[in-house]
Symmetry: C2
Subunit: 338 residues, 2 copies
């Protein structure tokens, strides 16, 4: 058994799952950014007619899941498993969405690493022959995250220059046992790295060591070099985290300066849109992958991409009890053809 | 593909994973209960020398994982994946434990369904050939749960007769691609059922419909009847939820009165220990399965058992916003020999 493992931590799929449909829904600020044309739906109001930010987030995730299934030319009942998670305590956006979708459900908590955590588990479930179709999904909302993790919006707290802006949005990916690609060909699941960062306004720095650990293992396990990829894109390290990753990888002998970027940098014009160090949130890599990256793979702009969502696994309680911020990063290789 | 699926929702494993090691650690109150002799470790103090209940919970989970690995005659580095979750916001008990364990990690949130959620995913990962060894784990702590979900302990709130007592403890299960059993032979993953219960002091009633939905699908998919099992045991429905399950199943033509019980009833003497409707918490099914059930399977008291952890997927925020409590139940069949 375990013949699908290569190296220390990487899995090479024998029947690579196809990504046959995606969706991305974003809030108005994200729709004002440079990737506007890639998103399936840009909301006019970030409450979307709901009575709370949390309910608006759940509605975004629900509609994103339905839209991805529709884009895959399937119906909800064709899907064997829904795998999803989000940032909110007890992942209520995902669970209340799963109630509406009504199919077997595995809830995850991987913070902002959720998109590739769900794709990693979903790809194993498909490749292993346990399902024909799986939907992977996540969401985040600037206002539900701010009031849960930081300050009430009404307080008007000044944001540090290291802080990042939580993306309001939701993305979903339909994986299929059959299809003509793009394919998930490899996954390198992450382990937790914690270099002792305690500043919850500097998440990029807290997550960067986990990203480096996953990248190093991925390259060693697969034998790929960075230049074997048309694009390497992390989840939400932002300007500071990306810089740390490039520097740390340089010291290990890997040059990422050519083809590595971060979803948290791509989604906003960081200066014009005043988001300081970039974007964050589960939806950051979800909408950038399911919108921009996936559509550019279909157009053959990219033929092989490494998507690596990154998560900071702390809570307000752990921070108040003096704990540092553990980071994790799950990497997924997506290829247009095999 | 998907040849391992039978019926609507059940998976039958072709290379059933073996459970080669388990562990259970409990607090003093659980150690005073009728299952005392089955637990690997009974703590004298539920803080275990830590400065907070949350840190004590994480320590229990960490030690349970290490102990299960030791009981399986393995070392931590033999394990390919850790799959775990807990009740706390952002599953800090699991994430901080995963930091200490240091191996690739998938974080889950399934509330009190986490034990069988993690075993379901772990079994697919093993059967699919993606890992040789996986550890599945979870924990809960009465005092960390009370102050997060209900009232500060110091407030001395009166407990309703429908309320359940969160188990202080942690359990872990080592799954292996090779071994001589007990085996995980089937899983029936759950979908969310929500009959509109809003009383967070009556979780058994909130989760019972999900348990019934999973049981009905399991019996239909597999062709088993309740009497094909030596024991059917749900996670933490307690006295009220168990009664509802028996009644609802009776109406569907299934008699569970003979061999069905609930971990939340087994772990405490509900009258003498003053726990009202029984026990709850992720650790409830975790320690009852990894302690009592597993050891009795080894002794051949039971040859085929259905373990079904049950989760209530709400949060304090969702309750304050008027939402009802969605329930989920994941069922796992364990057989001594195949």
């Amino acid at each position: 058994m375990a013949i699908k493992r290569i190296g220390n931590r990487t899995i090479k799929f024998q029947n690579p799952p196809s990504i046959i449909g995606t969706s991305s829904i974003v809030g108005p600020k994200e729709g004002d950014g440079p990737l506007r044309s890639y998103f399936d739906l840009v909301l006019e109001y970030d409450t979307w007619g709901q009575k709370s930010f949390e309910k608006a987030e759940a509605k975004m995730q629900e509609e994103a899941i339905k839209l991805a299934i529709k884009n895959a030319n399937l119906s909800v009942n064709d899907i064997h498993f829904l795998i999803s998670g989000d940032l909110l305590s007890q992942i209520i956006s995902s669970s209340y969405t799963a109630r509406e979708i009504g199919i077997p459900y595995f809830g995850l908590y991987g913070a902002c690493s959720t998109m590739t955590e769900s794709m990693s588990l979903g790809a194993m479930i498909i490749d292993g022959g346990f399902a024909d179709y799986v939907v992977c999904a996540t969401s985040s909302h600037f206002s539900s995250a701010e009031r849960q993790f930081r300050f009430p919006l009404e307080y008007g707290a000044q944001r540090k220059f290291t802080s990042q802006w939580t993306v309001t949005g939701a993305g979903a990916t339909v994986l299929s046992a059959k299809g003509e690609g793009p394919y998930i060909t490899y996954i390198t699941p992450g382990r937790i790295r914690d270099y002792g960062i305690t500043d919850t306004s500097n998440m990029g720095a807290a997550m960067a060591p986990a990203a480096v650990d996953t990248l190093l293992n991925h390259f060693k396990d697969t034998g790929f070099t960075p230049m074997d990829y048309d694009l390497i894109i992390s989840g939400d390290l932002g300007l500071i985290g990306r810089r740390i990753v490039i520097d740390m990888m340089q010291k290990e002998g890997y040059d990422l300066s050519e083809n590595y970027t971060d979803c948290g940098i791509k989604i906003f014009d960081t200066v014009e849109q005043d988001v300081h160090a970039g974007a964050s949130g589960c939806a950051c890599s979800a909408v950038v992958f399911n919108g921009y990256v996936y559509k550019e793979i279909l157009k053959s702009t990219f033929n092989r991409v490494l998507v690596m969502s990154t998560g900071a696994l702390h809570s307000t309680t752990s921070s108040l009890q003096g704990e540092s911020i553990p980071g994790i990063a799950h990497a997924v290789t997506i290829e247009k053809s095999i």
